[in-house]
């Protein structure tokens, strides 16, 4: 009876649980607020397609990883918890990598080592340590989903800017016209910006997004 009451007072998508998903999308975004996972954001945001696949891979690893760690949380001796966490991420990443190689060989080739490097993505280990180790499975899954989505949204934003101005296309579709045959905007003298394709520009775009976000929400501005 008492247990029944408890589950009733905590529905699957209670306000608290919903916050676990929505918070990482905006005010607690893993990339723009916690500034984690920047390295991959620089490397795989040249095209939107890569960003989408990378985002999906990270969501997959983060949700399942959080679930597994949360289920095991009372069994893991705290002294070797990092190793256990690493084993879990590594196994999940290998699964993702094999799936990509089997079903999306071109994208897998473009993403190259960066799928493998999900293992070292600070967001994943951070969520394991900070959330899954101390929370029940369901909230952990939501937390993983929220942070994964927050990461993906940022990747897509950066990738849209970079692909649009760097290659003049979105998801491979030419937006400004054909640059080789000089149609559309290119006929007027427009040129793609090469700098957009280089990694430093990703860092600058992330910086601009952080800037805009903090202009809108002054509470995020750090004290000096």
């Amino acid at each position: 009876m008492s247990e029944d009451k408890k589950t009733k007072s905590e529905p699957l998508f209670s306000k608290k649980n919903r916050k676990l998903i929505t918070d990482p999308l905006t005010d607690n975004n893993p990339v723009t607020v916690q500034v984690l996972g920047i390295c991959s954001a620089l490397a795989i945001t040249v095209q939107v397609e890569q960003a989408l696949v990378m985002g999906a891979a990270v969501i997959f690893v983060l949700v399942l990883g959080n679930l597994i760690i949360s289920l095991l949380r009372n069994l893991i001796p705290s002294r070797i918890r990092i190793i256990v966490q690493l084993v879990v991420v590594a196994s999940l990443v290998i699964i993702v990598n094999e799936i990509l190689k089997a079903f999306m060989p071109d994208v897998s080739e473009k993403l190259s080592v960066f799928v493998g490097l999900i293992i070292t993505n600070c967001i994943i280990m951070g969520r394991f340590e900070a959330f899954a180790m101390g929370n029940k499975p369901w909230p952990s899954v939501l937390d993983g989903l929220g942070n994964g989505l927050g990461y993906t949204i940022l990747l897509i934003l950066v990738a849209i800017a970079r692909e649009l101005f760097g290659s003049g296309s979105i998801l491979g579709a030419q937006v400004f016209g054909d640059s080789l045959n000089e149609t559309g905007l290119y006929a007027l003298g427009y040129e793609n910006n090469n700098l957009m394709i280089l990694p430093p520009m990703a860092l600058i775009i992330v910086g601009i997004i952080i800037w805009i976000q903090r202009l809108k929400n002054k509470a995020l501005i750090e004290d000096h």
């Binding site: 040129e191 910006n193 090469n194």
Partner: protein, 399 residues
């Protein structure tokens, strides 16, 4: 002048606190202080206010840039005519008036675009943040066209200027807070963003659509860099020196970015800067020494004609002199300590020649070298100050 002052003074209440145009106060303030001596006085304590404020410092630099600008306009016109006729041996001093007008038609729009776009960005930030307009862009706006090739599309200048002013300066807090030289950052944006418009042999002469077939308008540095490739433009150094004599390179009648070619004009500017105390002779001098030392070192290594180029050529070709005088000396981004300035300048020159000669992907290294040293300047200052503290502590202990 009295009449003008009256009009301006009559407008003042409108811009004062509570006035109807309060929001536009920065705009009023900036134009008023540009024309008249600012009315600021120190209200408390014994402070001396120097009559030379930031605005007047900046104007001095602008004046120092005028010889480069005038020569650049003429040179642009000259090479536009050369490209049209395909005759590289065209006499430099003939048809002076026509050349100057041809150059003016090309250069003036570049200056206008750079100023209008840059000042608009500055005004937006000044009004939004409610502070007075900073004067830094007076110089930057003129520097930007001077370090660009003549044939660059105007919209690229506009985009790059917005990038340079916002990312290079405003995000750090405006004039005086920037880490890197704004004009050079603008150029770097163009260099990496639109490489086909910033290097190669088609961009240095205005109006390439008029160019005669088969005419290549490469710069001296571009030709030199081809020594490393399979198809060098010249067979040996003597032939190179036949085309680009030391005197021509010194005087500036060679293709290149608009303001950078004439070392004579740059020297006039440097004298103005040094005499008025605006530019640091230490930085200019050590920059030249650094470049010269590197060139000698490369001579000693030898192996290909580019490495064996006489050191004095390195000092007069490309943007080396312009960078040393107008870019490296930027008081905000250079090292602040006196010893630091020597180190900063020396390594700036050293790196500039090293990148120029040893990396064929970058035909000119001055821009990258100065930007790199801008980033290093605070570290240099830090260690200079620490060394000074240590030395003085030692003295204290022995006493």
């Amino acid at each position: 002048m009295k009449f003008l002052e009256k009009i301006v003074k009559n407008m003042e209440p409108k811009f004062a606190k509570g006035g109807e145009l309060e929001k536009w106060a920065p705009v009023y303030e900036s134009f008023m202080t540009l024309a008249f001596t600012p009315p600021h006085t120190t209200k408390k304590g014994a402070h001396i206010r120097d009559a030379v404020d930031l605005k007047r410092t900046m104007i001095t630099v602008v004046i120092a840039l005028i010889p480069c600008l005038l020569f650049g306009i003429y040179n642009t016109g000259h090479w536009a005519l050369v490209a049209e006729s395909g005759d590289r041996t065209l006499d430099f001093w003939q048809n002076g008036g026509e050349k100057f007008i041809r150059g003016l038609v090309v250069v003036l729009p570049m200056i206008v675009v750079s100023y209008v776009v840059g000042l608009t960005v500055e005004f937006i930030f000044a009004i939004k943040n409610g502070h007075a307009l900073h004067e830094g862009f007076l110089v930057t706006g003129l520097l930007i066209p001077l370090i660009l090739p003549a044939d660059i599309p105007l919209w690229m200048i506009a985009v790059a200027t917005v990038f340079g002013v916002v990312i290079g300066k405003e995000v750090f807090g405006g004039t005086g807070m920037n880490i890197m030289n704004v004009a050079l950052l603008t150029r770097a944006f163009l260099f990496f963003g639109y490489p086909t418009y910033m290097s190669g042999d088609k961009v240095w002469m205005a109006g390439k659509e008029n160019t005669v077939d088969g005419f290549t308008g490469s710069t001296a540095l571009g030709d030199l860099a081809s020594f490393i490739t399979d198809k060098p433009v010249f067979e040996n150094l003597a032939m190179f020196e036949g085309t680009y004599s030391l005197w021509d390179s010194f005087m500036g009648s060679i293709p290149g970015s608009i303001g950078e070619t004439s070392v004579i004009a740059i020297l006039i500017g440097s004298v103005i800067l040094v005499v008025t105390g605006v530019g640091s002779l230490r930085i200019m001098g050590s920059f030249l020494v650094g470049g010269y030392v590197m060139a000698i070192l490369l001579n000693l290594i030898g192996g290909n004609p580019y490495l064996e180029l006489p050191p004095e050529f390195h000092l007069v070709l490309g943007g080396f002199a312009f960078g040393a005088v107008f870019m490296a000396t930027d008081p905000v981004t250079a090292a602040q300590t006196e010893t630091g300035k020597l180190i900063y300048g020396f390594f700036g020159g050293l790196l500039a020649i090293m990148i120029r000669v040893l990396n064929p992907a970058y035909p000119e290294g001055v821009m990258l070298a100065i930007l790199f040293m801008n980033v290093m300047a605070p570290i240099i200052d830090h260690y200079v100050i620490q060394a000074n503290i240590k030395r003085r502590l030692k003295r204290l202990k022995t006493a």
